[in-house]
Symmetry: D2
Subunit: 345 residues, 4 copies
Amino acid sequence: MSYTASVVGGSGFTGGELLRLLAGHPEFEVVQATSRSKENRTVGHAHPNLRGLDLRFSSPAELESVDVLFAATPHGVSMERIDAFREAADTVVDLSADFRLDTVSQYDEWYDGHSRPELLDEAVYALPELTREELPGAEIVASGGCNATATILGLKPLFDDGVLTGDEQVVVDVKVGSSEGGAGGGEAASHPERSGVVRPYAPTGHRHEAEIEQFLGLDVSFTVHAVDMTRGASATCHIFPGEPVPKGDLWGAYRGSYEDEPFVDLVAGGGGVYRYPEPKAVAGTNRAEVGFELDPENRRLVAFSAIDNMMKGSAGQAVHAANVALGIEETTGLDFKGLHPVGAP
Amino acid sequence: MSYTASVVGGSGFTGGELLRLLAGHPEFEVVQATSRSKENRTVGHAHPNLRGLDLRFSSPAELESVDVLFAATPHGVSMERIDAFREAADTVVDLSADFRLDTVSQYDEWYDGHSRPELLDEAVYALPELTREELPGAEIVASGGCNATATILGLKPLFDDGVLTGDEQVVVDVKVGSSEGGAGGGEAASHPERSGVVRPYAPTGHRHEAEIEQFLGLDVSFTVHAVDMTRGASATCHIFPGEPVPKGDLWGAYRGSYEDEPFVDLVAGGGGVYRYPEPKAVAGTNRAEVGFELDPENRRLVAFSAIDNMMKGSAGQAVHAANVALGIEETTGLDFKGLHPVGAP
Amino acid sequence: MSYTASVVGGSGFTGGELLRLLAGHPEFEVVQATSRSKENRTVGHAHPNLRGLDLRFSSPAELESVDVLFAATPHGVSMERIDAFREAADTVVDLSADFRLDTVSQYDEWYDGHSRPELLDEAVYALPELTREELPGAEIVASGGCNATATILGLKPLFDDGVLTGDEQVVVDVKVGSSEGGAGGGEAASHPERSGVVRPYAPTGHRHEAEIEQFLGLDVSFTVHAVDMTRGASATCHIFPGEPVPKGDLWGAYRGSYEDEPFVDLVAGGGGVYRYPEPKAVAGTNRAEVGFELDPENRRLVAFSAIDNMMKGSAGQAVHAANVALGIEETTGLDFKGLHPVGAP
Amino acid sequence: MSYTASVVGGSGFTGGELLRLLAGHPEFEVVQATSRSKENRTVGHAHPNLRGLDLRFSSPAELESVDVLFAATPHGVSMERIDAFREAADTVVDLSADFRLDTVSQYDEWYDGHSRPELLDEAVYALPELTREELPGAEIVASGGCNATATILGLKPLFDDGVLTGDEQVVVDVKVGSSEGGAGGGEAASHPERSGVVRPYAPTGHRHEAEIEQFLGLDVSFTVHAVDMTRGASATCHIFPGEPVPKGDLWGAYRGSYEDEPFVDLVAGGGGVYRYPEPKAVAGTNRAEVGFELDPENRRLVAFSAIDNMMKGSAGQAVHAANVALGIEETTGLDFKGLHPVGAP
């Protein structure tokens, strides 16, 4: 194994996914997982699938020296602890939003400001399909957010290929699973209240809107609904391109963007049960499915994308980014194909 | 009991709901329920909640004379059999789409044409909140469709009150349960394939678009997703009103439309777990929840509405319409309040 | 309306069900609902289906005088407050376990003892199918527990009819929904951890074992699993009657016990999809389904029963008991038939 | 890659799992997948997670020569086609029940007889934890059934270690997911009818009883319930050992049986949310979780076991068996750890 790694915030959901991926990754050795609430307990106490790992959570106060530190902490923690993180590791991969945006004014608008603005320039946003070139050698990697990743992957080909100008009306209606709320629970997250819902969870003003707008350079109208699954984010983008777009151009745009991408599949209206992107079909994987349909009646283009929010939307994307940053073959440790059939993912 | 009633197509899902509602309705006596596939079997064989009903399915070929015939048959059946239905009953309440649209050209565009166009004028569309005045005495009642009902109820106050002009871009993103596919099954409807989905089920071109556009007089961009619930339809309407709308005006518009409506509740951003309309909260009832939120950032208005597709979107609406058509107090037989908590409705 | 009623503990799940049932009951008028955590909030804040009720939670410290007080409080509260409850009301219907058992020694063994043992004799256990005769005029009614009710209803005919002697090995394997854990949540109850489970939740030693053994007079081996539904309790009883029992005798026993019972249906191996008792089929209702199958190979009898734990297992049973206690027609206010289809109840 | 392989019945659920596992297995190359219903379609048409596989279904009539043929066909097909299978392959791994039992009389009792009884002796039952020694070189491998595997793994240590004599009363109450019904659907398997159920699906007489009794040498009383998950089988075994068993002896028995088993984990009453075996915790993996609890009150021992019916109960077990039969390291291709959190598996 070539690199040592640690996971700060290892008892949360994305921390657990990181530990699972790193434990199965031939180039990483996990030497530390921290948890404030489960210090001294085994990793398997929090994550039943990792009972086989011989590792106990340690205090986040004492970080071991590693090659790569993955921070799976709530927003705000990484900006406070970034010096300690960098002292402990050459490469810091942050899964929170703390280093995703470019400017303090965005953090003022969408979050509670930023305590280390001088680092925003240095941090590299990691949605490898967008920023692959900038990742090698990056010291602070800001792994892209789940809903933003789903949305950006659905919309990006339309900009890459000039189908859209950026002035179009774009409505993004996202459906997400309960794991987006994180571990721990609370009344709204309890099974009796949360099961079977279609719940407007961020009717307007979801923070990922900032991330999408920054990376696509356009305004989107963004709404998030909670639905009954645990993993998964599905983005449906309704776009009004002004004038009719030939379907062949769309196929060209999507193929052009994704035909060489190892983690993006184009799924658009074929036969069988699974004709468009679905979170079920990518659950547990680092894959995204992207597809589209034309609505000539309304001069509308509908783009669909589906990811596992815990994987392509979080821990998988972070490992993918680390692979690229360190020069490891991109797909290493991320080859799980997903299951069929599978229930609510 | 004042009226005799029959249900044609009684072994399907909406047929079962009709039988349940009519059996508990003080003004109706069910004298016949037909089923091609379950002839001679008890009603309880198809609907376990109705095992207590002493009634067997009979052949749809021989219709008994009743005051009101409810037709819960697949699209196309009612237009073929309408003469027989009218011979059997003074009032025909059709739950299919066969008499909902106004013109043959709409049926040519959205369905497979129409065999009895001369009756389209006579039929009265039944979404009582819209067409209450026209229902008394109607002989053919065309009960509004599920997804159309959810959408129309969410958008209607904006037109009633002049908030919208009809030229706005309107995107309607609907999430529906598996009962919309009807009884019987099939591979895509099987539990292993259908559970846990967020599936673009009608990406574009859903037939209810015609119904919405006819009754609201505007173009909508309509997309339907299947999600993991059995009952329920949730419509999220993203509307771009051109210029900013004060929130107070919106409250005024929604209150003005619905404050006297017995089956519509306004739910918009209060406290607790259930802050916006949710299908769970209305499951089993004839109620609709309607709410909205402003997105000043994007000059967008988001309207939410939630119904039980089998009730307010189908059987409940049909009984409500029959009540109005016959002069029975509107809410009779429709007072079930729903359950809390409830799982996937 | 003939009787005034109050609900102590109105913001919990069973409190909400009581309020729903009482609000729709022609003989009761709800004059007070208490809640420590939601004092001054509307009932609809806790229970979205009850937004139409014009009632706010008040403090449990000040109880109004009513005819009937329903206590939907955690175990231990009623025995502490029973004097205040009785001062406020002529009839106290307690939904907790505080007055279900006969002797202090049982409370010592299964609970944390009892502070008012002198009242145990006076309290009448309410599982009306068992104790109907004792309820009229009762001042303390101890409404039967959910898992106990399901189990007792499945086993009772075998004792009534002498099929069993009481010396048989009886294994009871119960499957329950998440509402049994009550409102509030916690990590194990959170949707990501709780959805899709088959979780041994009380492998042995569940307190309802005491209740079952007391009322049936036999030892049962009792195990409870949590499964993915919100409402519902399904008891499968595996019984070894020593010598072969003719199927006809079993039919006789079950019919003899239940043919006149308004809330118990016998469902045993007919046609269609629903051949045996299922919680889905009784969700939202006060009905129990009971059925059985013979396993001659293993000289085993398998009895199935299914209830809605919130209704026949709690609030519905309490209202049923109050009806009997007060001389109101038994089924009043409890006539909801349930829905078909319905998702996870 | 050392071995060529084919999958007969590749469009079914277990066929899809086999294709997934073999495609990720370093020692196998899949050269053929057959399907009657999806001939000429891509494998991805049936299994969305396998869209990346460049393989089309071919007719089962023309079998290619391979080293190992996996038959994932309905019961009865393998015994009819066994000569063709053996002509095509040196090793036939059959996932059906056709070669699991030892004698024609068992097939007469539990199935519809057997057309090739002379092969029953030759076939090796594959539940590698039981029959590891007999597998190397086997030409017909009969991979163990899902519910039987769960049950046997839960009970086996009690026999290995002499805790049980074989005369005990043993009740096995199994809960299974919808994938056990196979692909295709049907009314009872449709989402509206199947979701949220606790359904007695094989109250008595399930065919796996024969398999369990054959391999454990004792009578079991076996009942199977369908619950709301897609994958998973959970067996709860209630055992009455006659006289008290010290808990330490049980730990000894279970540890002795499983401490060296790569695919069996002992989970019995520790801390955290997952204290006993749960299907969720093993979904997608070839692992089994096994645990137990003592009920001294009732002189009962409760053993729990949980597997993914599609993996350890079918395709995973088949690949595990092939690994052993061919001398490949046992865990090759079967190292997926499972996910946390995960919804309904």
